[in-house]
Amino acid sequence: MLYVKNLHKSYQSGSKSYSVLKGIDLSVAKQEFVAVMGPSGSGKSTLLNCISCYIPFEEGTITLGGKELKGLDKNALAKVRNEKLGFVFQDFMLLDGLTVRENILVPRIIQGKVEREAEKLADQLMALFGINHIAGKYPADISGGERQRTAVARSLINQPLLILADEPTGNLDSKSSRAVIESFESARNKLGASIFMVTHDSFAASFCDRVILLKDGVVYDTLEAGVGHREEKRSAFQDRLLDAIRKMSSLDAESEKDTAGGM
């Protein structure tokens, strides 16, 4: 489905160049729910922006559904974003002037293919995520959780190969966060969607099949969810995630201490 190989990305600030991604390798399989975690500055958002075709990268390859993204022109990249990818953003990015139902249909409208079938799919998605009662409402009139579930429904309207979610629970309370993550689960289980999520939230990540820990622009560790009863499995996975994150942080602290001691 998604293959990222030896991805390098750097930013230029004045005459200095800062390397943010230093050779990332990862993949997401069909119907897989993968999260990327890591401290600030580890390169999570840059990785997501590269996969989203928002920013160009210098080295490496990104292959989506067998198609290499590097070298595509702007129009072709826009087509990939519209047809092969679905997006969920931290601040929802819904269009204020459109109703919930119309917002869900936007990717189809962009494609120019709003047929009866698309409207039916929008209605099904709203029913699946429990937002059909607010179909005619505007984003300003609904809660944060409802807005994010609308965004999840929008990301699925074109039945993309992969949903990219950038901190989808970052602006939500715990109840709404759970509802949004459960809607991702439903999308994967009932619609066969693949999801690639960047998050700081270990609770949200614990619902995933796999979590990639990123540190200083490289993959630090990959953790797989265990097997067993859903809630127990999730809880145990969250504990393991927290341990791994603690370990990663303590290594940082130790290396800082060594550096200070050596001085």
Partner: protein, 701 residues
């Protein structure tokens, strides 16, 4: 079924509020420019303002400033609109809409908004100028010459701004969608515009540059003329340019460093200052435009008090209530007829004095144009026509003692010697224009009498020379001057009756402006050239319109009457006064709207900062202080810098004109100062209104 077109339509409908500011800014800019150019090209104004004259140049210069301000304002408005639009565009692009797909819709929207608002502004400009002008006529003064005529030529300038606004908006739409980085587009709304910081030196250096630019700009034409013996070309005005970077540096210093003793209290106004700094780029631009417009406004408004105070002081200080003069070949009312006329108004005539004068040709050295702006100095035998009293006549008329040796002449100047440039101090020969006999003379100095000053010039020669040169001179080259007072309280009705009676008594051969020089005409016809006074270039005056500004200002035999000159001052200068008042209103209005809009934008952009401050427990008083910290400099700095800079520049021009400040100029400058106080108060009221608006917007009670 929804299509891309209907989606865009729906989004545009929802974005009406965002578009309102954009529409308003375009509308106001086009309205102001149309109103200004309608007035500038109006035959009413052009007829009164002489071509190539200072007033017309000033009007054009201020227009250029206003146009520049409006262009910057509309560019700013469209950049605001696109910042608001960016989130929507960014979302659609993130969801897979290509720039190519979005461009037609965006261009359609921008084209519609910019053209409709600009067109509405142009249309509204005409009723606006009509209402303002006729409001003046109703409230201040009215005369037949003030009837506003509009020449549709003024639409050229409106059309130019229309094209600039529409083209720039479309260009901006294109530029936005051409950006490759979607992230940048998506985050545009929250993007700060930090200004590039310069050191604390930039404020003082800015002030120095403004000063240097003003002095250089003023002296450069004189230096050019001295060095190259040519009239200075238009580009010489570029020497004024340092004023603009100077102003920019002052604004930058204000935004970045402020003018207070910050080192002692580094935390004072820290939040307001940092907010200001991060929005600095646009704030500095706006401050600069407002300053330039306020300077334009001050420059225009100064015209009125400078003219009025000087004029009223001169009228008040006159030694006699009435002065008139006439050619010997005219039959005008004498002492008896005037007494009879005064009798009708229960008035008597007192202190009546009259004395003859001769109109002779003076020679001298003057600049002669070579073409292409070049000139050389040449001695001309028939340089100009001037009026000459004998020593005895001058003493009798003025009561001033004077000794003029034969072969000498004195030029009559006002007591403060401010208008010496009209007087010929280099004459070596006087010529009788009937016999062409001449006598050699030399300049002996200035005699003084304020009432005997006009642009043709009065001179005094010895009694012997007067007799000698006046022999066989024909009546059209001879004249009489008369002064008298009114016994008792002077009456405006009598003054008006006297003026009309005098005008009626003159023949058509005297229907000429004072610049019409018969000696010059003779000289040019001698050379086979057509005298410019006989062409359309000379201001035309007519006995049938004795109340016109042109007639009152330029008629060769215009009498002086204290009652009439006081009562009709506003009327005589009505078009000048109205035009400069109009310019001042337009420039002030534009500056106020720009400052208001900038403050409201600052409030909008910093809304989240104020939300955070509220969460951190900031009291309403604290928040209001921070809001004042934002709005204060936006209003205060352009007002202070613009008004002070123009006041000092004006004072400098007054001093450099003749090396001193006359009583009239000092009075005028005091009046200017008071008017600036009034303007500052109006500006303060707008500032208070803006503060209220910002508090409402930020929900700070």
């Amino acid at each position: 079924m929804m299509t891309m077109k209907s989606l865009e339509k729906k989004l545009q409908k929802a974005d009406r509020k965002q578009a309102a500011l954009y529409l308003f800014c375009n509308f106001v800019s086009l309205l102001l420019i149309t109103a200004y150019s309608a007035m500038m090209f109006s035959p009413t104004v052009l007829k009164v303002l002489p071509e190539g004259g200072d007033s017309r140049k000033q009007m054009t210069a201020i227009f250029v400033l206003a146009l520049f301000g409006c262009v910057v304002f509309t560019i700013y408005a469209s950049s605001l609109f696109f910042r608001k639009k960016a989130r929507q565009l960014g979302t659609l692009m993130a969801l897979g809409a290509s720039g190519k797909r979005l461009l037609p819709g965006l261009l359609r929207e921008v084209l519609l908004l910019s053209s409709v608002s600009s067109f509405a502004g142009i249309l509204a400009g005409f009723p606006f100028v009509w209402l303002l002008w006729n409001g003046f006529r109703l409230a201040i003064t009215d005369s037949a010459q003030m009837e506003l005529q509009i020449d549709l030529k003024c639409l050229y300038l409106s059309a130019l701004l229309f094209v600039i606004v529409v083209m720039f908006s479309c260009l901006m739409a294109y530029r936005y969608l051409k950006r490759t980085n979607i992230m940048e587009v998506m985050h545009e709304e929250h993007r700060n515009e930090p200004v590039k910081e310069w050191g604390t030196w930039c404020g003082p250096v800015g002030i120095l540059l403004v000063f240097v630019g003003a002095v250089l700009g003023y002296v450069a034409p004189f230096i050019y003329m001295a060095l190259f013996s040519a009239y200075s070309p238009v580009w010489i005005n570029l020497f004024y340019l340092p004023v603009f970077p100077g102003l920019y540096m002052i604004m930058l210093h204000t935004v970045v460093h402020g003018w207070g003793a910050r080192r002692k209290q580094p935390y004072k106004n820290l939040i307001a200052r940092s907010m200001m700094k991060f929005q600095g780029k646009q704030t500095v631009n706006n401050l600069l435009v407002s300053t330039v417009l306020i300077m334009g406004s001050a420059f225009a408004i100064f015209y009125i008090p400078m003219l009025a105070v000087g004029n009223l002081m001169e009228v008040k200080d006159r030694a006699y209530d009435y002065f008139y003069h006439y050619r010997a070949d005219q039959t005008v009312p004498g002492k008896e007829e005037i007494s009879d006329l005064a009798g009708k108004y229960d008035l008597g005539i007192a202190d009546f004095k009259s004395a003859p004068y001769l109109m002779l040709a003076m020679d001298g050295t003057t600049e002669v144009e070579d073409g292409g702006g070049k000139f050389h100095y040449e001695h001309i035998d028939f340089l100009q026509e001037a009026k000459f009293f004998s020593e005895a006549s001058f003493e009798m008329l003025t009561g001033e003692e004077i000794t003029v040796e034969p072969g000498q002449y004195f030029a009559i100047a006002n007591t403060e010697e401010t208008a010496l440039y009209y007087l010929n101090a280099g004459c070596s020969k006087l010529t009788n224009m009937a016999t062409f006999q001449n006598i050699p003379v030399s300049f002996a100095g200035y005699a003084h009498y304020d009432m005997l000053v006009d642009s043709m010039g009065y001179y005094v020669v010895s009694n012997e020379d007067y007799e000698r040169i006046g022999q066989e001179l024909t009546p059209e080259w001879m004249g009489t001057c008369a002064f008298f007072n009114v016994d008792g309280e002077d009456s405006y009705d009598f003054a008006q009756d006297f003026f009309y009676t005098l005008v009626d008594s003159f023949g058509p051969e005297c229907e000429m402006p004072i610049y019409y020089d018969r000696v010059k005409k003779y000289d040019e016809e001698l050379k086979g050239e057509v005298y410019w006074g006989d062409t359309d270039r000379m201001t035309q005056i007519s006995y049938s319109r004795p109340d016109d500004s042109d007639f009152r200002l330029y008629w060769t035999y215009m009498p002086k009457s204290r009652a009439l000159d006081r009562g009709d001052f506003v009327n005589s200068f009505s078009v000048y006064l109205m035009m400069f008042l109009f310019i001042a209103i337009i420039c002030s209005l534009a500056a106020m709207i720009i400052s208001y809009t900038r403050c409201m934008t600052i409030a909008l952009n910093n809304r989240y900062v104020f939300e955070d401050l509220k969460r951190l427990g900031a009291s309403p008083d604290f928040l209001i202080k921070e809001i004042k910290g934002q709005a204060g400099p936006v209003f205060r700095i352009p007002a202070i810098v613009g008004m002070c800079a123009m006041y000092l520049l004006y004072a400098m021009l007054m001093i450099m004109n003749d090396g001193k400040l006359t009583g009239g100029e000092v009075g005028g400058l005091i009046a200017c100062f008071l008017i600036l106080g009034g303007l500052a108060f109006v500006y303060y009221l707008v500032y208070r209104r803006t503060l209220r608006g910002m508090c409402t917007q930020l929900e700070v009670v």
